[in-house]
């Protein structure tokens, strides 16, 4: 089936955005009539994505990361320096139209913060001197791509004794060849035996998803790789794409072979445009040696190809159904649960969506068989997991751990001094206190809350960090990344943020804490997708685990009068009329 034209909309918008720095009225009209849409529909798509602009963004558009990890590493200093050096303020373009400054949530470089993207090329480990130097060069007309950094992979740990699963050399074609010998049923069996479960964070058994898609009668089917990696503090997919693009491609091929799909699509987040060439090269290489295309990998009747789609700055597009909408060239609004993607996904056809790490792991399991893999990890949770470690530690980077490692061991490995508060699986995950450091990291016991199931991000905060500030950063993130389609998340995140601000100003009382918890629970129970459902997770956990800290933040004088209602602030505007 020909993919309908609207799927090209995002690409065309990218072309215009890159060429002119913005998308003008005439572009909107032209695209609308070209795609047979109304203007307001195209405008709706443009305004959804953070990286598309309707006003000029300058010759150099600079996106500075404002995630909490960047904040720990001196974000404010860098922000000031950029403003001083370029003469622009954040959110706008300088008078000469040269520099456009914008803030953006985590760009997947938490191991080398502060960092920024300039015309979508990465600049890492920024300090004031470096920023000054960059701006000077840009002013001279030096192209950003010639002076950008090549972000290090920072692979800090793999299981000792050469037992790395992800990072050992990979021979193109080895895994798909074995898959062809096994046949689809056996492939599923091996994945089941290895207990491979979705590494995007939901841990849905991969074999089940593939099997459901395989049993769908409708064709064509699609295989989609979720490389949106938007969860702040996560960067494992970045490193996999940079070092293991081939095993990713092959994982998708195995999936295509198993479920009977012919087309694979990798949805790469806009922040990782600088990595696209890695995927393109791998795909080209595979095509050239006949591993992709017709009769690919020498398997009779198996035809498979892969293309890359670039996202445009939206965290929620990592949610699988929002991702599908985005792939179709629409606003990235999550769908309802009326259909599952394996029934009606991309273009209403059966679709498998998996995370980068899931595909890479599948390729490795099939490549070597389950025996070696099952030796790793612990019973019930075999194998390994990639963690992106960042924050207050000496060795931020990628840790390929065996399931079953304790938090304490990991903290030791990464050189965390004085860890106090740890955010596991990103803002939408769970926060743990140092008191829980003997908990294991595994896929087990989620309900019993014994082990911790980590999605990939592991952010460490030491004692001197202000917990409310951290939570406010998260809340701001969810507020601006909510797609806005359902009430509890659209309004709730805003309401929660206001309340947290009160708390940080010392205006809250005991009732406010109870309300935060109860409102957070309401959002959890009523939101449409995972974003709204998990947005208040950390907050709710933190209020339990750091109870004393929170009560210490309250307005102790509360006696019926909101003492700190700020009369001076409230009449400030009016005081201007004093004669």
């Amino acid at each position: 089936m020909e993919e309908p034209r609207q799927t090209l909309l995002l690409n065309q918008l990218w072309e215009l955005q890159s060429a002119n720095g913005f998308i003008n009225d005439a572009d909107i009209k032209r695209l609308a009539s070209g795609f047979n849409l109304s203007d307001v529909e195209v405008e709706g798509v443009v305004s959804f994505y953070h990286f598309f602009h309707r006003k000029p963004t300058g010759k150099y558009s600079i996106y500075l990361n404002n995630s909490i990890v960047a904040d720990l590493k001196g974000f404010h200093r860098i922000k000031e320096t950029f403003e001083r050096e370029t003469g622009a303020t954040f959110g706008s373009v300088d008078r000469t139209g040269t520099f456009g400054l914008f803030l953006t949530p985590c760009i997947g470089l938490s191991d080398q913060e502060p960092s920024a993207l300039i015309n979508f090329y990465p600049f890492t480990n920024l300090n004031a001197i470096k920023v000054k130097d960059i701006v000077t060069q840009l002013k001279k007309g030096v192209a950003p791509e010639t002076i950008c950094d090549i972000p290090a992979d920072n692979i800090r740990y793999t299981p000792p004794g050469n037992k790395s699963v992800f990072f050992k050399p990979f021979e193109a074609g080895s895994a798909i060849e074995r898959a062809g010998k096994l046949g689809p049923e056996k492939v599923l069996e091996e994945l089941k035996k290895a207990e491979l479960a979705g590494r995007g964070g939901a841990y849905y058994p991969t074999w089940k998803k593939w099997d459901a898609a395989r049993l769908q009668p409708a064709v064509p089917k699609y295989v989609v790789c979720n490389a949106d990696e938007g969860e702040p503090g996560t960067f494992k997919d970045r490193v996999l794409i940079n070092t293991q693009a081939r095993s990713l491609v092959e994982g998708m091929m195995i999936c295509g072979y198993t479920v009977g799909a012919e087309q694979g699509i990798i949805y790469l987040r806009g922040e990782y445009r600088w990595l696209q060439h890695k995927l393109d090269e791998a795909i080209r290489e595979y095509r050239e040696v006949g591993l992709l295309g017709r009769e690919c990998a020498g398997l009779k009747g198996f035809r498979f190809d892969i293309r890359v789609q670039i996202g445009a700055g939206s965290y929620v597009c990592g949610e699988e159904t929002a991702l599908l909408e985005s792939l179709e060239g629409k606003r990235g609004e999550p769908r309802t649960k009326w259909f599952f993607p394996v029934e009606k996904g991309y273009l209403q056809q059966p679709t498998v969506i998996n995370n980068v790490e899931t595909f890479c792991a599948a390729a490795r399991i099939i490549e070597t068989g389950t025996d070696a893999y099952m030796q790793l990890g612990i019973p019930g949770s075999p194998g390994i997991k990639l963690l992106s470690v960042s924050g207050d530690c000496k060795l931020p980077g990628i840790y390929e751990i065996e399931w079953g490692m304790t938090v304490a061991e990991l903290l030791e490995l990464c050189g965390a001094e004085d860890p106090y508060y740890i955010q596991v699986s990103g803002p939408s995950g769970e926060c743990i206190s140092i008191r829980e450091k003997y908990r294991r990291i595994s896929m087990l016991d989620l309900l019993a809350r014994k082990d911790i199931r980590c999605g990939g991000s592991f952010m460490i905060f030491s004692k001197q960090r202000d917990l409310v500030k951290v939570l406010l950063n998260f809340s701001e993130f969810f507020k601006s990344e909510s797609c806005g389609i359902c009430t509890p998340c659209r309004a709730g995140n805003f309401i929660i943020q206001r309340k947290l601000e009160r708390l940080s100003l010392g205006l809250a009382n005991e009732k406010d804490l109870q309300e935060l918890k109860s409102w957070g629970t309401i959002m959890k129970n009523t939101s449409r997708c995972g974003l709204g459902k998990t947005a208040t997770n950390s907050l709710i956990y933190a209020m339990d685990k750091f109870h004393d800290y929170f009560t210490g933040k309250l307005d102790k004088e509360f006696n019926g009068l909101n003492q700190r209602f700020d009369m001076e602030g409230a009449v400030k505007d009016y005081e201007k009329y004093k004669i």
Binding site: W338, C483, G484, R490, A491, I522, N562, G569
Partner: protein
Amino acid sequence: MAKMVTVTIDGKNIEAEEGKNLMQVARQNGIFIPSLCYYEHIEPPLGTCRVCTCKINGKFGPACTEKISEGLTVEVNSPELLDTRKAVVEMMFAEGNHICPACEKSGMCDLQHMGYELGVSSTRFQHLFKDRVIDFNPTRMVMEHNRCIKCLRCVVDVKTSEGKKVFNYQNRGNETFVGIDYEQEAKLTEAEAVNAMKICPTGAIILRGVSMAEPFGERKFDRESVQHNYNVKKKPVSRPALMSKKIVATVSLAGCFGCHMSLLDVDEELLDLVELVSFDKSPLTDFKNFTNRCHIGLIEGGVCNSENVETLRKFREHCDILVSLGECSIWGGLPTMRNSIPLSECLEEAYLNSATSEPGANIIPYHEDLPKILDRVYACNEIVKIDYYIPGCPPDANHIWKAVKNILWGEEYSILYSEFKYD
């Protein structure tokens, strides 16, 4: 022929066709599940408002996006679910700028009506007062962005004969609003345009010249609840034998005295009342200062200037219980229309540029002795702790006194649907 299966809703077994929409099945079986975005002929269902949240097989989820399957167990009316759904509706009021007494849709608005049905008297959330515009550009329509609840109905359902969308979301998160395509809007037939206004569950889509066709007071939701089992039976009122006389104080802050007028609107019952209560500081007595400690203080109006703040604080100090009376006191009400406009613009409009200002006027009053205008209108509970809220604009007189008697003497009461009104 589709398969028939059995599902259980609040303990009741129901036969239904497999794959059907749970919301539809519940309705057909006389079970009321609140909803706002659900619109029977739109498929797949929209699932945006989340007002229909139930517990489905033990998990929270919206009824309108659930397919009937064998053994489905649905819980609709637990206390937790009732409160959760109410909270979602309250969020809509906190998020939008809904000033019902000034709204064309009042009385036939699904949102307002859902407020009544779920017993929303004040929102637990602070109003956000987001600055939104009213789009007067389309030829026939007015888009009142303050009132849109982003239900998606218009986006999905309103199309031109060429199949092009007239409405679409713009931006995202809390910035989301429904953009209207002027060019496409002009292509709609009159009937299609009227339909757009009708399917909008709020007063966001208004058609010029048509929106006020039905008189207030005779509109769809003006008289009756849709929940026929709703408790409208008037219970006999039991008055405790000994009712000691209580002292009441009242005040009108940034209000219009409408609530005070309503307070007196109990006809001959007023004579009963003076037996039971005496008034201390109040416009009714014209006492300027408190002479006694009061049992209850009734506050009309929100807080718009420094004097209001001081008065309200005095009330908190001198009264055991404070009651916010009416919308302005509860969340700011009509005066909050200025909250999304900078103070300077408001003052200039009032004193310099308005049609009634003196020609050549160039002074915005400021004097030591004058109260200072606050940057925005505040709800009373932003300044002091408020114990109870009596909604309405103004609240019905009977409603006020029933509530007050209940607070002071624990007297039981029930309120008629027609008394429980915001506007």
